[in-house]
């Protein structure tokens, strides 16, 4: 049904979409498809993260607008959380990008975290690779800004924009713990709010401590397309930077994949059978059981 050896092209949205489905669900063709990916040009991956409702999707919508002006082909992965209760997901990031739904150079895919905790889904790396191989000029990834374990997006993205909203001063301390370290730039969105300037200055103070270089901070009103040009310029000037953290992320990923390959021959049902049997013997010891099983 799907030719996993075919070259994936950003011209053929249907093919890209199905390739993403195959990879996301680890369908039979997935391994072959991933091995056959070829990367012919550097495609910057831009992470956009931040607390719920900060305006990430609205900002992405405006960034698309700007990047399109230079004839770029753009892909977006918009990640929303899966409910831990019923494992379903309501994916609503797309709503804010409606003006691009019919644009032949904009591909938008919504995905659910499916139980993964780091803000990305388990297969985001693979899906971003499919989009890179397809030849898009930019890949934008909007992630759930849960605050804590955001290491994943910083590894995957060439650079990460952290979107914040003006809040009372002590809120900044809270942000500091999670999102502070990972920002290559801060976006203070909803700058139309009253406390925007105070927040901006507080943020500036905090980010200039313990650092030789001041992290860039931008003020935007994404819903009115204000301040977007500056962010776009930053994206373009940063696009060629090398991401040191990627090595770490890829090592982690490679480790996972190797682990998966090495344990593939172990059938969980058979293992359970063996455990059930071993439990019948007196003085069952899990650790010597495992030694014996391998």
């Amino acid at each position: 049904m799907y030719n996993s050896k075919a070259t994936i092209s950003s011209i053929n949205f249907k093919q890209v979409a199905r390739a993403l489905t195959i990879v996301e669900n680890d369908l039979t063709e997935s391994a072959e498809l991933l091995k056959n990916l070829t990367f012919n040009k550097p495609t910057p991956i831009i992470g956009i993260t931040g607390p719920p409702g900060a305006g990430k999707s609205t900002l992405v919508n405006e960034l698309i607008n700007n990047l399109l002006k230079e004839g770029n082909k753009i892909a977006v992965l918009a990640i929303d959380p899966t409910s831990p209760f019923n494992f379903g997901s309501l994916l609503g990031d797309r709503i804010r990008m409606a003006s691009h739904f019919n644009h032949p150079d904009v591909f938008i895919r919504s995905l659910a975290t499916r139980g993964s905790l780091g803000g990305l889904s388990v297969k985001t790396i693979e899906m971003a690779d499919v989009l890179r191989a397809a030849g898009f000029d930019y890949v934008l990834i909007e992630t759930v800004g849960v605050g804590q374990s955001e290491v994943e997006i910083t590894g995957l993205a060439d650079f990460t924009l952290v979107v914040l909203v003006p809040e009372a001063g002590d809120e900044i301390q809270h942000i500091k713990s999670g999102l502070m370290e990972i920002a290559d730039a801060f976006i203070v969105n909803k700058a139309d709010r009253a406390d925007a300037d105070i927040f901006f200055n507080n943020l500036k103070k905090i980010t200039s401590q313990n650092k030789e270089e001041q992290t860039q901070i931008f003020k935007t009103v994404a819903s009115q397309a204000i301040g977007i040009d500056e962010v776009t310029a930053f994206i373009k000037s940063s696009a060629s930077q090398k991401n040191q953290r990627r090595e770490l992320l890829l090592t982690q990923k490679a480790y996972q994949l190797i682990q998966h390959k090495l344990t593939r021959h172990i059938d969980k049902k058979k293992l359970q059978h063996a455990i059930a049997e071993a439990l019948n013997t007196e003085g069952f010891n899990l650790y010597s059981f495992v030694d014996g099983y391998l």
């Binding site: 494992f87 379903g88 997901s89 309501l90 709503i95 409606a98």
Partner: protein, 139 residues
């Protein structure tokens, strides 16, 4: 139910045209989510082109359109035409709202799936979509 199907069902829920009745669409979106599906909700004021382009990029198993405005006899045929053009005939097109029986039957003949009237239990809708997808999409 085919036993090869081992992933969440993906559904697009949208409203087309100027119809502002979105209560039904929201309830359906939430119910499908609660049933474990991945629901892409694009809300109000979509065009048939937007619906089909979104469905294609999101590679959904089903498209659900909610119409209470009376425009169903123009909206559904337009979507069906685009679906055929893009060879997406293996995607379910379903929906609900204020749609008289005669129209419902006429649309069915054009390739539209079940259309549900007000008062339908959301469980019936979940069951219909689940069974359709499991028996028509084997990946």
């Amino acid at each position: 139910m085919s036993n090869t199907f081992n992933r969440p069902i993906r559904v697009l829920v949208a409203k087309v045209g100027l119809d502002g009745h979105d209560r039904g669409a929201r309830i359906i979106a939430t119910s499908l989510r609660d049933a474990g599906m991945e629901v892409i909700y694009t809300g109000l004021r979509q065009t048939p082109e937007m619906v089909v382009n979104t469905a294609l990029q999101e590679d959904v198993d089903a498209i659900g359109i909610s119409i209470l405005s009376g425009a169903h006899m123009t909206v559904f045929p337009k979507i069906i035409k685009l679906i055929k053009e893009k060879q997406m005939d293996d995607v379910l097109l379903t929906g609900g709202g204020i749609i008289p029986d005669d129209d419902r039957l006429a649309l069915k003949q054009q390739g539209v799936g079940e259309l549900f009237p007000p008062g339908t239990s959301t469980q019936d809708i979940v069951k219909y979509i689940t069974e359709w997808v499991h028996s028509h999409r084997n990946f």
